[in-house]
């Protein structure tokens, strides 16, 4: 129970659509979402597959909680090989489409091959078909979604790409419900390379659970005693914009391409300013928190901006104008661009100009060129051709590698590692590159009482958090709910109809994280890729409580070595045989 036991496989080359059973053995070991997706990808993808070729696959997944009354279980997981860096990519998108997929009779959808013409996939209560999508090609995600809802009914849910995905920008994203994104790593470009514009889902079925009274009781208890308490309600009252002021005060707010860790204009981007511009709230399916904020500022409106956009698209570009950031967010959403990679790339280009390396017409704080950039990128026009390379690509072409803020080709999100040394390790070791979703030690370091400027204890902290998130995103639960493994087990037990132990879940998290490592190792990544840009090791922080701090290279190396040992990986970062046996990965 908890699963539909049904997988939809769509071969876009031949148009063949088939239904197959869910691999239950894998579901027992990996649960769903991120974990199950990487297992399928690892088994089915030929090593060395070009991410933009018809050999790549993109998998949409639910989890055992999806579609049930378990709170915060509304996210859809997306797994593929990243066109940005060739690593394993998993990302997720909120809203309602994950539940809808299960109600339509599927646990997951595997898209493979490449369609000769633009198409979109329609899934309606078990039936699936490919439809011609020429009339949608070139249109933004907002327009696309509205058009598809007209055709398939307001109750349907849509996942789509914008022009950036069609034009195979390596940091193009997937959008659902207008403003929710599977943002990082270029899943939108994989859709575009396969000529698939959108997936439309309509389902009216349900999800069976083994013990409904038991689940009602467990879910009610979780809501009352855990979710809707002061531990989590910041997500409702403020949402992620609250982190702007927290990062400013703790000295980790990326400013002017990570040259500074505090921003003189932070107040215009902080939560009190956002609350004044708030026009409404939004929650995903089954969520009791409702973190989404509709914002209207001047002529600009969007659901958002989240912290990552306020920091990377705001302070990191030297932009203190909330209306401009709202506009930037809305543009990226409609064009189908990841705001983090786009913002980071603009900030890098701004510093290239400042340093006299290459002038792409972008200057820190200049709103007009900043707002022109997303469209130029999405349509590969003018300087957009260059900006589409992303930070690593630009630095390889023109120089500036020491301040190219990326790891494994994925641009930095909004946390300064010199002010949170564990976050540096998290960026260096996250499977998809510089990523804040693999582990988030800033909560304990920069925002908490743990010393952020030491490597002591950080290897274990980061590894534990990586297991926690790997499992959470496999079940699939939202990252804003800080629940324990014990509570996850209490909720899963009545769904599956067997006693689930917290230790079993923790071990599964470690298994999933190691499988991601095996995938990347097979693709040629080594321990040498687990590093950070030179700026972090060499240049003292400017401003804030961490002024003058670096993350010393020898300290980082020590922390990384300890992390490998704790994980049971060799000196090159390859999992040892004993580790693989212990985790049932042989």
């Amino acid at each position: 129970m908890g699963y539909i036991n049904s997988v939809l496989r769509v071969n876009l080359t031949t148009g063949e659509i088939s239904r197959e059973g869910l691999n239950r053995k894998w579901a027992d070991l990996y649960y769903g979402g991120k974990g199950l997706g990487i297992k399928y990808l690892y088994q089915e993808l030929e090593p060395g597959t070009d991410p933009l070729s018809d050999g790549n696959k993109i998998i949409l997944l639910t989890g055992p909680f999806t579609g049930t009354i378990v709170p915060c279980s509304g996210k859809l997981s997306v797994v593929t090989k990243s066109p940005l860096n060739g690593a394993a990519l998993d990302c997720s998108v909120g809203g309602n489409i994950a539940g809808e997929l299960k109600y339509a009779g599927y646990d997951m959808v595997i898209l493979e091959g490449k369609s000769p013409e633009p198409v979109y996939l329609v899934i309606e209560d078990g039936e699936a078909s490919l439809m011609e999508a020429g009339f949608l090609w070139g249109r933004g995600t907002l327009d696309t979604e509205k058009e598809l809802l007209k055709l398939h009914g307001e109750g349907a849910r849509v996942l789509s790409i914008g022009p950036a995905g069609e034009n195979i920008i390596p940091y193009a994203c997937l959008t659902s419900e207008l403003y929710r994104q599977a943002g990082r790593g270029g899943a939108g470009a994989v859709f575009g390379s396969k000529n698939i514009k959108a997936v439309v889902v309509r389902g009216t079925g349900g999800v069976g659970v083994a013990d409904m009274p038991g689940l009602l009781k467990a879910a009610q208890k979780a809501m009352r005693e855990d979710l809707l308490t002061d531990t989590n309600l910041w997500a409702y009252t403020d949402g992620t914009p609250m982190l702007v002021e927290m990062s400013q005060n703790s000295g980790i707010l990326p400013t002017r391409n990570f040259q500074q860790a505090t921003f003189e204009g932070f107040e215009s981007l902080a939560s009190p300013s956002m609350q004044k511009a708030r026009a409404g709230k939004k929650a995903c399916l089954s969520c009791g928190l409702g973190c989404g904020n509709y914002t209207v500022k001047g002529a600009a409106r969007v659901e958002g901006p989240e912290y990552e956009t306020l920091s990377i698209g705001g302070s990191n570009c030297g932009i203190a104008d909330l209306e401009a950031v709202v506009k930037f967010n809305a543009l990226c959403d409609d064009l189908g661009l990841d705001t983090i990679s786009m913002g980071s790339t603009i900030a890098f280009a701004m510093e290239m100009t400042e340093k006299g390396i290459k002038d792409l017409g972008l200057r820190f704080g200049d709103v007009s060129s900043y707002l022109e950039a997303p469209e130029l990128v999405a349509f590969r026009k003018g300087k957009g051709m260059e900006l589409a390379l992303g930070v690593r690509g630009l630095s390889e072409r023109y120089g500036g590698r020491e301040f190219a803020m990326q790891v494994k080709g994925l641009e930095f999100p909004g946390y300064e590692p010199r002010g949170s040394w564990g976050m540096g390790l998290a960026y260096a070791t996250a499977p998809r590159g510089a990523c804040h979703m693999s582990a988030w030690p800033v909560a304990e370091e920069a925002y908490g009482e743990r010393d952020p400027y030491t490597v002591e204890g950080k290897a274990g902290l980061v590894a534990d958090l990586q297991h926690y998130n790997a499992l959470k995103f496999s079940l699939i639960l939202c990252d804003f709910w800080a629940l324990s493994f014990d509570l996850m087990a209490e909720l899963l037990t009545p769904i599956l109809g067997r006693e689930v132990a917290a230790g079993e879940l923790e071990l599964a998290g470690e298994r999933i994280f190691n499988l991601l490592r095996l995938f990347n190792t097979r693709e040629g990544f080594t321990g040498k890729d687990d590093t950070l840009p030179d700026r972090i090791f060499n240049q003292g922080l400017v401003g804030g409580p961490g002024a003058g701090k670096i993350l010393p290279r020898e300290e980082f190396t020590k922390m990384l070595g300890e992390y490998y040992r704790l994980r049971g990986w060799d000196a090159n970062g390859i999992p040892e045989k004993d580790t693989l046996i212990r985790l049932e990965l042989t």
């Binding site: 002061d230 309600l233 910041w234 403020d238 609250m242 002021e245 703790s250 939560s271 800080a482």
Partner: protein, 80 residues
């Protein structure tokens, strides 16, 4: 009379003034008052408080408060 100003964020605003203005806290004369002492006096549960900022910078619970200081109390956060 030594006064510090206290601002609350997120769900912690319930411990401040209803109108959202800065709360004032009077430091007792002739004794050292830390951030933690103030939390206890205001009845703010310590485990629900995450970052504490004093005069725009992260501070420890043991930070000693002085006249005119501005304190912001943030809740514990999760996620990313």
């Amino acid at each position: 009379m030594s006064i510090v100003k206290v601002d609350f964020r997120g769900p912690l605003t319930r411990y401040g003034n209803n109108d959202g203005s800065l709360s004032e806290y009077e430091l007792p004369a002739d004794s050292v008052v830390t951030v933690q002492d103030m939390l206890d006096k205001l009845g703010v549960p310590s485990h629900h408080v995450g970052l504490v900022a004093v005069n725009g910078q992260k501070a420890a619970r043991s930070t000693v408060l002085k006249e005119g200081y501005k304190i912001i109390l943030f809740p514990v956060v999760a996620g990313g």
